[in-house]
């Protein structure tokens, strides 16, 4: 039980916001930055923040992720470990403008 609580505490601490998490910001239905470099071979947490007044959905087929980002909110997307390469993503609700690519190096 104690070990469990300890593990829980650690995992909760680990999941609280972290300054060095890579971040994407949605503004005017575009991602900033549109090209985001991340380290290959490690797990990381991508924070996606939506500064638009309407919802967006972060989606990537290559990364196998889709997640709604409500207006004014920031949500975590857990990724990796990724092989070196490029992983395109898009905003499902504004596919003509919201496009980007994650580059794992």
């Amino acid at each position: 039980m104690r070990a469990f609580l300890l593990a829980l505490t650690i995992s909760l601490l680990a999941s609280s916001a972290n300054a060095d998490d890579p971040q994407l910001i949605i503004k005017d239905h575009k991602f900033q930055p549109e090209r985001l470099e991340v380290p290959a071979g490690v797990k990381f947490r991508l924070m996606v923040r939506n500064n638009d007044p309407t919802a967006e959905e972060f989606e990537s087929f290559q990364l196998n992720r889709e997640k709604v980002v409500p207006p004014g909110k920031e949500i975590p997307v857990f990724l990796g470990p990724l092989d070196r390469g490029e992983y395109p993503f898009f905003g499902d609700f504004h596919q003509d403008t919201a496009k980007g690519v994650i580059v794992a190096k």
Partner: protein, 286 residues
């Protein structure tokens, strides 16, 4: 208009395929149209509710509330579908022969009908909530007129319903005595796909281990984003680059459903009644 048409069609196609299979699987059951319509209605209300609470759900559980919620919906649907296949493997043959003898829409299968109506509701709710968020976003930013948006959405919905109906009619071309075996098989694959997807979503949120981020990658043959990829994803759980735990959950669910269906004792079809007298005897027994 085209944007809302495409997104509504895309999201509703998946729910529509589920509805098509469920319609074929409930062929001949009394009250099934009402039950399925009830499922769709409940799903639409649920979708509006989920969209309304999108920010609450998104921020719950340290930001993985959405994944937990989606996985919960998927697993509930898997449970309902498992119940249906087990029930059908026990009653299916009898049901098929009764439908042949007494005509369609005359046979009772209340429990199974309820389970499938719930599956329809869950599918519509899951896919529909995204449509609501999207359409609300367009209406709020109003780059295009609300009228054009709704027209596009309506066309998308009609197209998805048409695919759903085509699948249903196609399945009905199967002779009655084989129909429920086919729909049972399709429902087993549907359930396995949903179980795999639930596992993928949970692994994506780092709630469970992924057992390998991608076991293989067939996106150069059939990408997830293509129309065929999407349809197969909805029907049999196709995923171009599945994680280990996704494949494991898929196989485990499939094995469980097949095992339960095999274990369920088969109810033999009633012998054809030769005379009115024999028929009253059967009725009196029942």
């Amino acid at each position: 208009m085209l944007a809302s048409l495409l997104i509504v069609f895309r999201e509703m196609l998946e729910a529509g395929l589920v509805v098509g299979i469920v319609m074929a699987a409930t062929e001949g059951l009394a009250g099934r149209t009402l039950a399925i319509l009830g499922g769709i209605g409940g799903g639409v209300s649920g979708a509006a509710l989920v969209a309304g609470f999108a920010d609450v759900i998104a921020e719950a559980a340290e930001g993985v509330g959405q994944e937990l919620f989606t996985a919960g919906i998927l697993l509930a649907a898997v449970a309902m579908l498992t119940f249906h296949t087990t029930w059908m493997s026990r009653h299916g043959r009898k049901l098929a022969s009764e439908i042949k003898d007494f005509g369609r829409a005359a046979v009772k299968g209340d429990k199974s009908l309820f389970a499938l109506a719930a599956v329809v509701g869950l599918a519509v709710m899951r896919e529909g909530s995204e449509v609501v968020l999207f359409l609300y976003g367009i209406a709020a930013s109003s780059h295009e007129s609300v009228g054009a948006m709704f027209a596009g959405g309506l066309i998308g919905l009609v197209l998805a319903a048409a695919v759903s109906y085509a699948l249903y009619r196609g399945l009905l071309a199967i002779p009655m005595r084989h129909l429920f075996s086919v729909t049972n098989g399709m429902i087993a694959l549907l359930a396995a796909g949903m179980a795999g997807q639930a596992a993928a979503v949970l692994a994506g949120a780092d709630v469970i281990p992924s057992w390998g981020e991608r076991l293989w990658n067939t996106s150069f043959i059939l990408p997830d984003g293509s129309w065929l990829g999407r349809a197969l994803h909805a029907l049999i759980g196709y995923s171009a680059a599945p994680s280990g735990v996704q494949v494991a959950a898929y196989l485990a669910a499939l094995a469980l459903i097949v095992a339960l269906a095999r274990l369920a004792p088969d109810e033999k079809p009633k012998p054809k009644t030769a005379s009115p007298l024999a028929e009253t005897k059967v009725a009196a027994q029942g």
